[in-house]
């Protein structure tokens, strides 16, 4: 398919734990088109996180091919993979993974510092714009431990999109958040997707998956179902109906 951003063929991942071989992925063929919003679902141990890590170039498959934006990732060395993670991928983790004792703004600047195309002059401005787009411009100088879980995750999202990636990957982005913040985060993803950014999230909650356009279910390292969502839920509308419990909620 010509407009596929992500395309995998027979992706296999085997973890070796001593003598034991764990087959995390047993041959995944998947294509994700540009501007798609995909939720990858499955129970823990189904291989969805492993798949996500490989797609995010954080891990390498044991066998199989993976093309990202037309590039054969399997042929890349470690440095080129780092370049890919920097330029083409924005990754959002379940546990946020922000640098501690580092302000929100500096956390967002981090990917720009590893991007040689960005001048140090433009660095701060781009980071500020990214923070603005997740609605945290006024908290740019707060440290992670001064931010609520939802705010931390929004900083992580700003960091993911600051280098204008072709795809944003989020591994259980709402796993550590309460219901209302989860919806807030999903609203941001929907908003980004509306601007044309491809978003792939991993979740085990059908509620969260309902905000996306396409649900892919994994089981035991294989794709079980791949369904289009007819009428995705609108996070921004629902947000108005959920009462605000407290302003400064933390986990």
């Amino acid at each position: 398919m010509a407009d596929a951003i992500i395309s995998t063929r027979h992706l296999v991942k085997i973890y070796k734990m001593g003598d034991l071989e764990v087959h995390a992925l047993r041959g995944i063929d998947m294509e994700i088109r540009k501007s798609d919003f995909v939720a990858i679902m499955g129970k823990s141990g189904s291989g969805k996180s492993t798949f996500m890590n490989i797609v995010g170039c954080l891990d390498v498959p044991t066998r199989g091919d993976y093309f990202l934006d037309g590039v054969d990732v399997g042929k890349m060395n470690k440095d080129q993979l780092a370049q890919l993670r920097n330029n083409k991928i924005g990754f959002v983790f379940q546990s946020f993974n922000l640098l501690s004792r580092t302000s929100a703004l500096e956390n967002v600047e981090l990917p720009l510092m590893y991007n040689s195309k960005v001048s140090s002059h433009a660095l701060r401005e781009k980071a500020m714009n990214a923070l603005e787009s997740v609605g945290l411009a006024d908290r740019s100088h707060h440290l992670p431990n001064q931010l609520s879980g939802g705010e931390q995750q929004r900083v992580a999202i700003a960091r993911a999109l600051v280098n204008d990636p072709v795809v944003i990957l989020a591994d259980e982005p709402t796993g550590n958040l309460d219901t209302r913040t989860s919806v807030e985060v999903m609203a941001i993803f929907q908003q980004l997707n509306k601007k044309g950014i491809t978003v792939v999230i991993v979740t085990h909650e059908p509620d969260i998956a309902a905000y996306t356009n396409r649900n892919v279910s994994f089981r035991d390292g294989r794709i079980l179902k791949d369904l289009q969502v007819e009428h995705p839920r609108k996070a921004s509308d629902e947000l108005l109906l959920i009462p605000v419990i407290s302003e400064e909620e933390t986990i």
Binding site: N53, L58, D59, V60, K78, D79, A82, Q83, R85, N86, N87, F91, F93, N97, L98, L99, R101, T102, E106, L110, P111, M113, Y114, N115, S116, S120, R159, N163
Partner: protein, 406 residues
């Protein structure tokens, strides 16, 4: 990653974690400071012991004429062959292993000052004699070369002489004495040296210019002996060879003939000095290596813990696009900054500690440049190795493994 960003990242990371930065820096500071202080004390002791030994005149050589033999009976030394001032000049000019040298003439004299008198030996020497014998002047001055040339009637006296002629605690400088009825001006008082190894009082002496004693008092043309000091203790054999060669040549003796002079050195003292110096060097080296080892282990522990703790940070950085070498470079820059700042503080603290020890314990300390460089380089090397090695291990992981690291 650009170097500018790299520097920025390193500075940020150091200033964000002030406690960690301080603790790691403390390792370097203590390592460097302890090595410098230990070595300063050791080196100071070594030098003070060596100075005391060389005070005994370890590199001193005395050249006497040999005793002649007439009909199987050995005569008094110097009875037939005599050393001359030209012999002295040849030794002084043509022996590079000789540092200081002087001809000597000696007589005994009756000293009179006011109503007091005292009998002692009077030496006629060049000013070099004071350097050869490690004599220092407590008050006044040594006579000069010019005073020697003009055979001036000046002299320097020892403490014992001063005590008997002028009484205890009186400064004799500027006073007149008569030696064998010739009036002399006292220009200096020699610092007390006490008894030598053979129980002789080294302060019972009058030293006057060579020419004055030779021409005015003795009216002789020969000299009693030549005294020289070798440049170092190790150069004594070489100096002996050079002097033997020069004097044999002057006395027209073939290489196989016995010399008509004797060179006497303080071989036992010199051997003791060499042995002591060797022991002290070993002692110093072991002190230095133990301090470096202890300092090194401290640095190592802090670094291993700190980098292990930072594996997750390395994972985050790689996750957003840092290459392995970006991470390593950042660690290297951080390591260099910490070692540099910590090293400088350590050097300062080390010098301060040494000075405090010197002040409070009255212990001689000598800070050498080598000890500073040694401790600095060693601590930096340990720092970089134990900071760099785990960082390299973390950077070679898949990012996801570094992120999952607990």
């Amino acid at each position: 990653m650009k170097l500018k960003n790299q520097l920025k990242a390193a500075i940020r990371s150091l200033s964000k974690n002030k406690m960690r930065t301080f603790l790691t820096m403390l390792g370097i500071i203590i390592g460097v400071a302890s090595v410098i202080a230990m070595l300063a004390i050791g080196q100071g002791s070594k030098e003070s012991i060596q100075a005391q030994i060389s005070n005994l005149g370890t590199n001193l050589l005395t050249i006497f004429p040999s005793a002649s033999m007439t009909g199987g009976v050995r005569m008094e030394a110097g009875s037939s062959v005599r050393l001359t001032l030209d012999d002295y000049k040849a030794v002084a000019d043509r022996c590079p292993a000789v540092m200081y040298s002087t001809p000597t003439v000696r007589t005994s004299g009756q000293l009179i000052a006011g109503s007091q008198n005292w009998r002692t030996s009077v030496w006629g020497v060049y000013p070099d004699y004071f350097d050869i014998r490690n004599l220092t002047i407590q008050s006044g001055t040594i006579f000069t070369v010019a005073e020697d040339r003009s055979a001036s009637k000046v002299c320097v006296i020892g403490q014992t002489v001063a005590k008997y002629l002028f009484g205890e605690g009186v400064d004799p400088v500027g006073k007149q004495i008569r030696i064998n009825k010739i009036p002399f001006l006292v220009t200096g008082l020699i610092t007390a040296k006490g008894q030598n190894a053979f129980g002789q009082d080294q302060d019972d002496i009058v030293i006057a210019p060579f020419t004055t004693v030779q021409e005015r008092m003795l009216t002789i043309t020969y000299i009693n002996s030549i005294m020289v000091s070798a440049t170092t203790e190790k150069m004594i054999p070489e100096a002996t060879d050079e002097i033997t060669q020069v004097l044999k040549e002057r006395h027209r003796l073939g290489p196989s003939e016995d010399p008509d002079f004797t060179i006497r050195s303080q071989a036992d003292i010199a051997n003791a000095a060499t042995a002591t110096s060797g022991i002290l060097t070993i002692l110093l080296a072991s002190i230095a290596s133990i301090s470096l080892l202890v300092g090194g282990i401290g640095i190592m522990n802090i670094m291993l813990v700190s980098v292990t703790e930072r594996t997750r940070e390395i994972g985050i950085r790689m996750g957003v696009g840092a290459r392995g070498r970006d991470v390593l470079l950042q660690f290297l820059i951080e390591a260099l900054m910490i070692s540099l700042i910590g090293g400088i503080i350590g050097v300062g603290l080390g010098i301060l500690t040494s000075e405090v020890i010197a002040g409070i314990m009255k212990w001689p300390v000598t800070i050498t440049l080598q000890s500073i460089i040694l401790s600095f380089l060693f601590s930096t090397a340990i720092w970089i190795f134990f900071g760099w090695y785990p960082a390299r291990k973390a950077a070679s992981l898949n990012p996801i493994d570094a992120l999952r690291y607990e």
